[in-house]
Amino acid sequence: MTHHDADDLTRLHRRLVDAADHEGILDLTYRSVDSPVGELLLVASPDGLVRVAFEREGHDAVLARLAAEVSPRILRSGRRTDEAARQLEQYFEGRRRDFQVPVDLRLVHGFRRKVVEHLQEIPYGRTESYAAVARAAGNPNAVRAVGSACSHNPVPVVVPCHRVVRSDGSIGQYLGGTDAKAALLALESA
């Protein structure tokens, strides 16, 4: 492979993304974005952001799972994901308090869906307890299920599950690691 060939393949890849999108067979696109909590993977369907994944989840493993659960028609492209990446950069620079990108919650069902939908209403810089979220989602006894729903939130950071903490004030578990959760809460309280 010469540099020339690599350029040709890059150009052809872009052309493939265009044609696939035009034909309606570009089911998922993805790109990554650097952040203070490590590289984030962003995956989007035509309807919106489907998945945000932390480095520790293994981006290849996440994509393989999406291929099995959603569609294997997955191509790397900034199409659909560039805007989310831009807003995430602003967020981490402290210049943005909420995200204005469409989110596709097709990976979440049932009670977890209710929880994740409620999470979107917790404002920047505020926290709620797992018990409060359980009440808001319509099942006050399902505190443990709320914890599980948060830890399976497919679009962390953008859907702010990091704003849910334990009643005793300790921060609780997080898919991106407790350090990442602490960093996000610190950013928002600054």
Binding site: H13, A20, I25, A61
Partner: protein, 190 residues
């Protein structure tokens, strides 16, 4: 969220991006060998677009490379037919590397000079040579691809190689005429 359970390829097809990354260069090489650089881009694009279309239905355990090369061959043949209809003039004398054996040369990277020489072969010879010596397919599969018997495919490949040697010798004998040849613009892939 166990990553080990979800190794790429272990369950259903892997993300299509991985297929493009792994086989994109080989498909381009094949298309260029069959068509020359000008039409190869279109054949590459059509190959991956139709592969993406069918990808979710691809039988698990399929030989993805052979599948892609088969599609690339068909798309290239389509291009050749279109080209025949529009009666593109036959290119000028090929520029062949003088020192190396044609077969050895082809098992590695294909360069512009060899592409030009391949362009001089009859379509069946070219297809047989490329599929066997570049694509690495056995003659039985080559035969299927070009629509002839295995013996005929073997003969086409042998005739093609003989013709390449002949062209090379011709080229070696007329090395001084190089400046008169116009193998520039229409071979450029930019």
């Amino acid at each position: 969220m166990s990553a080990t359970r979800l190794r790429p390829g272990s369950q259903g097809p892997e993300p299509f991006e991985a297929v493009v990354a792994r086989h994109g260069a080989d498909v381009l090489r094949l298309c260029r060998a069959l068509l020359g650089p000008a039409d190869a881009d279109d054949a590459w694009s059509e190959t991956f677009l139709s592969a993406l279309r069918a990808y979710p239905r691809l039988h698990p355990g399929s030989d993805v490379r052979a599948w892609l090369l088969t599609i690339a061959h068909r798309r290239s043949i389509d291009q050749l037919r279109r080209r025949a209809r529009s009666a593109t003039p036959v290119p000028d004398l090929p520029d062949l590397p003088a020192a190396e054996d044609a077969t050895t040369q082809m098992s590695g990277r294909i360069d512009g000079e060899l592409l030009a020489a391949l362009d001089r072969l009859a379509p069946k010879q070219r297809a047989a040579v490329v599929h066997h010596h570049v694509g690495g397919l056995p003659y039985a599969q080559v035969a299927e691809l070009i629509g002839s018997s295995e013996a005929a495919a073997r003969r086409s490949a042998a005739d093609g190689i003989a013709r390449l040697r002949e062209l090379r010798e011709l080229r070696a004998g007329t090395a001084g005429d190089r400046d008169d040849r116009d193998d520039g613009d229409d071979r450029s892939d930019r």
